[in-house]
């Protein structure tokens, strides 16, 4: 159920009391957003997008000037959406620490934060980052409680908000309670819907890569559908589901189909008719090749996959991913190589139907089983059912650091590098699905040593490639 207006208004009053939001009045924020040109709206950009997937880098620096320069350089390099990636302390609501470190950065002219501390800089200053920019800005973070952060982002004219109660909690936090995370994101969804008009919708995006490590596609699909449904419930009408390159191009293509179909099926089933759903593809998010030649080949191949699945947006990686926070040079190169590869592959956009139908049906069936099981749980609302699903292990994300995540689901790669479920843990899955997964693994050796286990995780960094 959508949070009723009166309750929402009250909740909001509390949130807006944060001194960090004091410099902009909520009404001013709304007015600022309303007067932005359409080109600054992510939702509109999706509706008007041309042949190529929209290209979006990541990036966040502590200092305003560094961030301004990065923004400028990415703009010039040809990024379609600009990123604002937030530092870890802000993500963990440790605003004070972020502010202190920012001061030290400014004094020493150094970069002591792994992202842009939006709340330390404030919405007003942040607006000026984008004064000359005619493109949408996307908020990238990883925050279980992003209520204040998102308020400030909207005040600053950011029109795309990444995150969700599941995807920004289980992979990003050890102990933030999952139920509270879901409620925080319910507020954010409600806020985004509140700010959306028919022409100007605030766009929400879920983070499908999750831990980016051996997550089986059926689990990704189920979680993406849940976060979409949670947002739709709050009135969000422009939403991106997403997933990342898994290492098997065929499985990626199948996942895209399954994701599109399953999304539509559940929107129809629950009667949401007015949601514009987009598909976002992330270039490989796992352990990245160190060697430039491999890193760039991986980036290129990710771009080809994005073209092949006709993704609406591609979120890119850089060749220095394995080495540390990318500088703007390698970020600009990443934009360049991805752009070129998308151009090379543009003819594929119409070519759906590679015979991965069996695989995509397989993924969809499993995702639907998970979803049906969750919707049948007792609970006062969807968010509550989702929270119990996490606790009971129906939702289980491999390699999630979170204490409420069961961590019993175990996956390995088959001969074609597709991710297969070796141990279902508590995840409800059809017999036929499990049988096919086992078949695919029939000639896989048991994992005993640590290195054989790492072999799958380290797919792109195996020594045999050097």
């Amino acid at each position: 159920m959508q949070i009723p207006s009166d309750i929402f208004i009250k909740q909001r009053e509390t949130v807006r009391q944060s001194p960090l939001l004091a410099e902009v009045d909520a009404a001013d924020g709304a007015a600022f957003l309303a007067q932005l040109p359409e080109s600054r709206y992510a939702a509109s950009a999706f509706q008007n997008r041309g042949e190529h997937p929209i290209l979006q880098p990541r990036g966040g620096f502590a200092l305003f000037d560094d961030q301004a320069q990065l923004t400028h350089e990415l703009d010039v390099a040809g990024a379609d959406f600009l990123p604002l990636t937030i530092d870890s302390h802000t993500r963990q609501n440790d605003y004070e620490r972020a502010a202190t470190l920012l001061e030290q950065c400014e004094e020493r002219n150094e970069n002591l934060l792994n992202g842009y501390p939006l709340l330390a800089h404030g919405a007003l200053l942040t607006r000026s980052l984008f004064t000359d920019i005619n493109k949408p800005v996307s908020l990238r973070h990883g925050t279980p409680d992003a209520r204040v952060l998102v308020e400030a982002a909207l005040d600053a004219g950011i029109t795309e908000i990444e995150g969700g109660g599941i995807c920004y909690c289980l992979p990003y936090s050890r102990s933030y309670p999952i139920d509270r995370a879901l409620l925080n994101w319910q507020y954010i969804d409600r806020l985004c819907a509140y700010y959306s008009t028919d022409e100007r919708r605030i766009h929400r995006e879920s983070f499908g890569p999750l831990t980016a490590t051996m997550v089986p596609p059926c689990m990704v699909v189920a979680i993406q559908v849940l976060e979409l449904l949670l947002a739709a419930e709050q009135g969000v009408r422009s939403f991106s589901v997403s997933f990342s390159q898994t290492g098997s191009m065929a499985q990626d293509i199948a996942t895209a189909t399954a994701l599109r179909e399953t999304t539509q099926k559940w929107l129809d089933q629950l009667g949401y008719t007015n949601v514009d759903v987009r598909l976002v593809f992330h270039q490989w998010m796992g352990a990245f090749p160190v060697e430039r030649i491999h890193a760039e080949a991986l980036i290129t191949q990710g771009a080809v996959t994005a073209a092949l699945i006709a993704a609406d947006k591609i979120v890119i990686k850089t060749r220095t991913e394995a080495l540390g926070i990318p500088d703007s040079n390698s970020n600009a190169d990443a934009v360049k190589v991805t752009k070129f590869a998308l151009r090379l592959s543009q003819s594929l956009a119409g070519c759906t139907g590679l015979n991965t139908d069996e695989e995509s049906a397989h993924i969809a069936t499993a995702a639907n089983t998970i979803l049906e099981n969750i919707l049948q749980l007792r609970g006062i609302a969807l968010w509550d059912r989702v929270a119990s699903a996490v606790r009971t292990g129906i939702i289980d994300i491999p390699f999630a650091p979170h204490q409420e995540n069961r961590g019993e689901l175990w996956t390995v790669r088959d001969n074609d590098d597709a991710i297969r479920i070796a141990d279902q843990g508590k995840v409800p899955l059809p017999e036929s699905f499990l049988k096919r997964e086992q078949q695919k693994l029939s000639n896989r050796q048991e994992n005993v040593g640590l290195d054989t286990m790492l072999y799958d995780v380290m797919l792109m960094v195996r020594k045999s490639y050097l």
């Binding site: 050890r174 491999p398 390699f399 650091p401 961590g407 040593g449 640590l450 290195d451 286990m453 790492l454």
Partner: protein
């Protein structure tokens, strides 16, 4: 399966949620028959010491991925001793330094801090299985 009957505490120290190596370590050590207490990511020195005392651990294994480990681990050996675990082995592995520094030098520095063994970006994790088995067999 050989049951070693040895009790181990593992975890990732500091404000670091990169858990992949930790999960692999947990599974690998369990497979090898150890009694593993995994305190997970985003943990602090006290958490390691408390868990070690509570489990009467034979060894404590610290991971650090984001390169900031050094700041957190100075007093670990001393605290273990104070709390009555002077014979416990103490290991550390992961990205032990920021930037490209020679492995031997980095590992030696941590051994000087009281670690029994240190592994900076090791090419293999199985080596650790062999090493710890050998140490605990003494």
């Amino acid at each position: 399966m050989i049951v070693h009957e040895h009790r181990l505490v593992i975890g990732v120290i500091g404000n670091d949620i990169h858990v992949v190596a930790n999960k692999v370590l947990e599974r690998g050590l369990r497979n090898a028959g150890y009694d593993v207490c995994n305190i997970g990511v985003n943990t602090f020195p006290e958490d390691f010491i408390d868990a070690a005392v509570e489990h009467d651990a034979d060894a404590v294994i610290v991971s650090t991925i984001n390169g900031e480990g050094e700041d957190w681990v100075h007093s670990l050996r001393e605290e273990l001793t104070t709390r009555g675990l002077k014979d416990a082995f103490l290991y550390i592995g992961g990205n032990l330094a920021i930037g490209d520094q020679p492995r031997e030098r980095v590992e030696a520095k941590f051994c000087d801090m009281g670690f029994s063994r240190a592994y900076h970006r090791p090419e293999s994790m199985d080596i650790f299985l062999t090493d710890i088995a050998q140490d605990l067999a003494q």
